[in-house]
Amino acid sequence: MGDLLDPSVSVEISVGVEGFDTGEITLVVDGDGSTHIVQRVAGEVHERDARLDRETHADLIHVLTANDLEALEPLGEPSPPGDVPVRVRVLRGDEVLHQAMLWHSERYRDGRLDAILRRWESLVSDLSGGQLP
């Protein structure tokens, strides 16, 4: 725990499946606030780069740490049809410090995941000019 406060640490959060709807959208936030969005949809890849201002970055880190991003684990229960994966990775360079594959519907049973995904959705929307997610 506490890795997210390290400026050399990056966070990746991916939501969705490539073959449906808006595809799989990955938001990567580096420790210096630079961001990278990758949308993989139906065989196409769309990428966007941007940088968060200091306040937005600090707020994101606060939301991720306050909601135990590095402790989230899948509930291990069956999913309803249509549910999509939420992949979380915390990295220092190539070293994976934490990773988990959760399910989107779990946000409705785990308020921590819901809080993280709400922040993810608003950031992705802001950084994509409202085109995503």
């Binding site: 449906f20 899948p74 229960e77 309803p80 249509g82 989107h104 997610p133």
Partner: protein, 275 residues
């Protein structure tokens, strides 16, 4: 796939409706009138007329179709699992399928948004699923058009759906207000017993574009976002699954055929299968 149809003749939540809506029921209470008006709003005047017409000619004999379904995921991941359930009533000419949904909105979703989603769902279900298939009873040779309707209820639901704001990812049990109307027909397709038909690398039967569970033929259960939501249709294989489940629950054997519909680009009308 393990399909177990469970038949139950139940009347508690249906007999009052039949009694209230039958033309000979007298006198109609305000509650009965309200029920008819609610039905008219939910499934349309023509559909209510068809339902009432059916009650005039046949005693109500509702069967609940209920099938546990699942799809395995790879890598030891928990499976996808749900129970498809709905009611079936036969009139002299129709097989009426009714899905009762209890829609529970989040605090940040307005009543108006909920009503809009309900209307979208009714219209989308009508466009994609209603009167799409015809059954022929192989023993009596009677023919029935499959009518499919959704009712939004506060109790006696087949499925509970949470309604969320925004355009977040949906599943059978979680809808979002900003998703397109066709998505309502897609999610309710699961409740009718249909599997997803788009590529999902984690699902064994749909892991790649050539997997047996993947279809690219304007299926409403496929990636209609890519193929065109307005062209999304129910295909004959869906009618076969529906007829199979109804047949098991009612202990009847059917031949199922496709009726032509707007936007039907792929499956030829008149194509038939025996289940």
């Amino acid at each position: 796939m393990n399909l177990h149809a469970r038949e139950s003749e139940h009347g508690a939540d249906h007999e009052p409706l039949a009694a209230k809506t039958a033309p000979t029921a007298a006198p109609r209470s305000p509650a009965a009138v309200a029920d008819v008006l609610l039905l008219q709003r939910q499934i349309g005047n023509r559909s209510v007329g068809r339902v009432l017409g059916g009650f005039r000619t046949l005693a109500r004999n509702t069967t609940t179709v209920s099938n546990p379904l699942s799809e395995a995921r790879s890598g030891g991941l928990a499976p996808i699992a749900w129970t498809s359930s709905y009611d079936v009533d036969f009139t002299s000419t129709e097989c009426l399928v009714t899905v009762r949904v209890r829609l529970v909105r989040d605090g940040d979703v307005t009543e108006e948004q909920q009503r809009t989603v309900e209307t979208e769902a009714q219209n989308a279900l009508r466009r994609v699923w209603d009167r799409r298939f015809e059954l022929e009873d192989l023993d009596t040779h009677q023919r029935f058009t499959i009518g499919v309707h959704v009712q939004f209820v506060r109790e006696h639901e087949h499925v509970t759906v949470a309604l969320h704001s925004g355009a977040r990812a949906q599943d059978l049990a979680n809808w979002s207000v900003q998703k397109p109307p066709t998505s309502r027909a897609h999610e309710l397709g699961h409740q009718l017993g249909m599997y997803d038909e788009y590529v999902d690398a984690q699902v064994i039967n749909r892991a790649t574009a050539t997997s047996p569970g993947v279809y690219v033929d304007h299926s409403v259960m496929g990636n209609y976002y890519r193929e065109g939501a307005d062209e999304a249709v129910a295909q004959l294989r869906h009618g076969v699954r529906l007829a199979d489940a109804i047949g098991r629950a009612t202990r009847r054997r059917f031949r199922v055929s496709l009726t032509p519909g707007p936007g039907d680009y792929v499956a030829p009308a008149g194509d038939t299968r025996v289940v």
